[in-house]
């Protein structure tokens, strides 16, 4: 006897997608540009963001951040050194952020006052991929210390990113990091993705990241409600 079939056909992460869509429309409505920052743990997300947030603030933008970690509020404290408000999301055992966590975390922020929101994801090169957080832009950091083949080893996450930052470039030479090969590997996994080399230690590349973001922020302001995905 054939089984009885109940057709459903829906995205498994439908609930997350719905919350993310609602967040995106709120951000849109209040003119907030949102950046989701992903990488492995220890790639330099917090250090880069602290510098970038300070620089955007110096340009007259109002910036805030939320940051996800399994434990400790250390990263929110570090981000707050930029002079911008930062809120810690403690995920407990969760290896990625989900849209409802962001929704709760931003409850205290006055979105109307905000120009840019950074969401620093939990350090993880796999799990954050399928969880839309309502962002406009997804940045992925690959530090020189982790080798040039990381883009090939974690192709699915890089394939959803809009900007790759090759971080810790001050250490590239000591660790024998082949930057040409790293760039080629990024191109293999995400053709055409913009790549910026940085060193938060020396400050190299921070201005390029800031300029890149400032362009995107301006472009979004000029064409409101264009992005719906």
């Amino acid at each position: 006897m054939p089984p009885r079939i109940l057709e459903v056909r829906t995205r498994i992460l439908k609930k997350n997608d719905e919350i993310a869509r609602a967040l995106r429309s709120r951000f849109e409505q209040h003119g907030v540009y949102v950046v989701n920052v992903v990488s492995s743990p220890g790639a330099g997300k917090t250090e880069l963001l602290t510098r970038v947030m300070g620089a955007l603030r110096d340009r007259g933008l109002t910036v805030a951040a939320v940051v996800g970690d399994l434990a400790t509020e250390n990263d929110a404290a570090r981000l707050a050194r930029s002079g911008c408000p930062a809120k810690q999301i403690l995920t407990g055992t969760m290896c990625h952020l989900e849209a409802d966590m962001v929704e709760h975390a931003i409850a205290d922020f006055d979105l109307h006052e905000l120009d840019v929101l950074f969401i620093e994801n939990v350090g993880n090169l796999v799990c954050p991929q399928g969880f839309d957080l309502g962002e406009d832009l997804r940045i992925l950091l690959f530090p020189s210390t982790e080798g040039e083949d990381k883009p090939l080893k974690y192709p699915t996450l890089i394939n959803t990113c809009d900007l790759v930052v090759l971080s810790k470039m001050d250490l590239a030479e000591p660790v024998g990091f082949d930057v040409r090969s790293a760039r080629a590997n990024c191109e293999t996994a995400r053709p055409g993705v913009p790549i910026i080399e940085t060193s938060a230690r020396t400050g190299r590349g921070t201005a390029d990241v800031v300029a890149f973001l400032a362009d995107r922020i301006d472009a979004k302001r000029d064409t409101p409600a264009e992005r719906t995905a």
Binding site: R4, R9, K14, F131, N159
Partner: protein, 134 residues
């Protein structure tokens, strides 16, 4: 191990689907599609499924996974290429970079297989082609 989150979402979607269809029957299988670019490891999802279903209406149900390969379309020549693992986002025909993903990101609940109830099983005794129940 975000597969546990995904398995939990899946269980709750199944509950919603049963409720909105007014189904009281037992779920025998849950059919899903998992794309090669979805970031989900099927084996991890199967393991997480066993944990997530405990004490729910999905307890005892099989998880049937259809794996969907990653396919890209070339912006230059229009050819479609099925990607290997690890994926190289290039056109298999002309070799140029190809970034338009046309399949492989799926992470979908497709259908539920429900236990045959007496009421629906009885009216078809004349069906001689039906295989005997295992």
């Amino acid at each position: 191990m975000h597969e546990l989150s995904i398995a939990t979402s899946l269980v709750s979607l199944v509950d919603d689907a049963l409720e909105s269809a007014g189904e009281a029957g037992t779920v025998e299988a849950v059919r899903v599609k998992v794309g090669a670019l979805s970031g989900v490891v099927v084996e991890a999802l199967e393991f997480a499924w066993g944990v997530a279903v405990e004490g729910t209406r999905c307890e005892g149900a099989r998880l049937e996974v259809e794996r969907v390969p990653a396919v890209v379309r070339c912006g230059e020549c229009g050819a479609e290429t099925t990607l290997d693992h690890p994926p190289v986002f290039a056109c298999g025909s002309c070799g140029r970079p190809a970034s338009e993903v046309i399949s492989g990101r799926e992470l979908d609940l497709i259908a539920l297989e429900l236990e045959q109830t007496q009421a629906t099983a009885d009216p078809a005794p004349e069906d001689h082609h039906a295989a005997p129940n295992p």
